[in-house]
């Protein structure tokens, strides 16, 4: 048996080439500066920024986080400095890292804001890809774009015309059929889908009889949602052709591998960044070790290679 000396973790998502498939998820990594003391940021596959909107956003009323069994709720509400301040204040640091930067964007009022943002980001050499956050549960909207296949199709189509950069559409798990929405994103020209955003949730302080979050409800993340995420990745993998970036409660190498085997081409580390700032880097070396131990030359050899129980 030939031993694998240098496992190959590189991959491409549309025009976006990555040296490894481990990203950090939007909203859990700030604009990367916050993690510079803990890890060598250059080792990351890609960095997805905290979501950016056209105008600065203050975000929701505190308290904004609370712990739940094996997870946490957040209702940050997309606090961010706005696109202009992002470009001026945050991008220079990110550019120096020489790691693909994926700008996560969202609209506050009208879907047209996506077009404004994409036009601006399209011109920037420091931005490698754009993630359309059409699935944030913390905007006090009755319905998210990603909860409707037609709206998802229209939104993705409208921005697809504006950029040749890699487009990733981030979807909500709060839907009847994830495949229906993923197919709509694919048909509209999205280069990849990111699965999953947080699950809508609520937690109550029984002594005070008040919700634990200032905005009452929030998004659930962490290991508690991992089985939901793995299942949705697996379902979507069987229906769509574009790559899937899998996320939802990935804490370590083993949980990352679940996503690859279910069908994800890349993964994002989210809540784990809060608990162990080194989680993403540990997963990169853990994947190499797994590949070496199992004689796997290319990570693509395990993507979607789920076997039936009695095989």
């Amino acid at each position: 048996m030939v031993k694998i000396l240098k496992p190959n973790l590189s991959l491409a998502i549309g025009r976006l080439g990555l040296k490894n498939p481990v990203m950090v998820a939007s909203g859990t990594f700030g604009y990367a500066e916050e993690f510079r003391d803990f890890i060598d940021l250059k080792k990351l596959g890609a960095i997805v920024t905290k979501t950016i909107t056209v105008k600065p956003r203050h975000g929701n009323l505190p308290p904004r986080t609370c712990e739940t069994p094996s997870g946490m709720l957040n209702s940050i509400g997309l606090e961010n400095p706005g696109i202009d301040q992002f470009i001026e204040g945050k991008l220079p640091f990110l550019k120096k890292l020489a790691v693909p930067i994926i700008a996560s964007i969202a609209a506050e009022e009208s879907p047209d804001e996506f077009s404004i943002l994409v036009k601006q980001l399209d011109k920037l050499s420091g931005i490698s890809a754009i993630e359309l956050n059409i699935s944030c549960p913390n905007l006090q909207k009755d319905k998210l774009i990603s909860q409707d296949a037609k709206e998802t199709f229209e939104l993705v189509s409208s921005v697809r015309r504006l950029t040749k950069k890699c487009l990733i559409t981030k979807l909500s798990p709060n839907v009847t059929s994830i495949c229906e929405i993923a197919l709509a994103a694919e048909k509209a020209g999205s280069d990849a889908v990111a699965l999953i955003n947080t699950l809508s949730g609520m937690s109550i302080d029984v002594n005070k009889r008040i919700p634990k979050l200032g905005s009452w409800v929030g998004g659930l993340s962490g290991p508690a949602i991992r089985p939901v995420a793995v299942k949705m990745v697996w379902e979507a993998y069987n229906k769509i052709r574009i790559p899937i970036i899998g996320m939802g409660g990935i804490m370590d190498t083993e949980s990352a591998l679940e996503f690859f085997i279910a069908g994800a081409s890349a993964i994002s580390v989210g809540t784990a960044n809060f608990i162990n700032p080194r989680a993403s880097i540990e997963i990169i070396s853990g994947l190499k070790q797994y590949m070496a131990d199992n004689n796997i030359q290319n990570l693509s050899n395990i993507i979607g290679r789920l076997k039936a129980c009695n095989d």
């Binding site: 700030g30 003391d37 803990f38 986080t65 094996s70 809060f274 162990n276």
Partner: protein
Amino acid sequence: MKIAQIKAKIISNKRLKRNYWHLEFESSIIANNAQPGQFVNIKVSDGLGPLLRRPISIHGVKGSTVKLIYEVLGKGTQALSARKPKEFLDIIGPLGNGFGYKQLAKAGKAKNILIAGGMGVAPLVFLAEKIKPVKPLVLIGAKTKNQILCTPEFKSLGCTLKLATDDGSAGFKGRVTDLLKIVLEQAKPSRLFSCGPHPMLKTIARIAHENKINAQLSLEEHMACGIGACLGCVVSTKAGYKRVCKDGPVFSSEELIW
């Protein structure tokens, strides 16, 4: 300033009294860099419950030893109290911006006042050590006598100590903020430093404003990351929301909107 994520060996972890605990761990990097008002963020158990780290104020350092005191209130602190000496804790620190204490007015009657509510004594002992030559006046408030902590530490640092208890079992009967008002009738300090429950800090901010005194207040909030990334622990300030973990936990009272 250097922030480290380390596996730190527990030296001791003992109950002080009631549900107050004292923990010491070994870390020269945290001990050398820690400033009063800063905190450490501790993964109290290796598993998924509790999931998030728990932020705990730094109580003091001695050589390469870092001292903490904490109150067992929920699952996190309960799990922490079960940890034994020689075990290792995953700790990030020192974090946040502490008290600004450089260029304090030299020793004079009640020029610098430290006001602690309950567990709020933790960072103020560390501050009192750093400003020892100034000999600050220390006011400690609690519900009842046996909830008052750290009086020997303050005394050994040469601080003048005044106590307030809700039930009058020690010192002044009433709130520590009422005791502060009485103190202010006699002398006007140049600075107030405080740590304690939110309503107490709010009252101190008002008193400081009315008396035109600079007050530095250490706030507490639920945190997810503790390193400024998640924007979970924000507080309202005149410059918009600020992060308790990174921009604070110590804020100037004039910055804050209550």
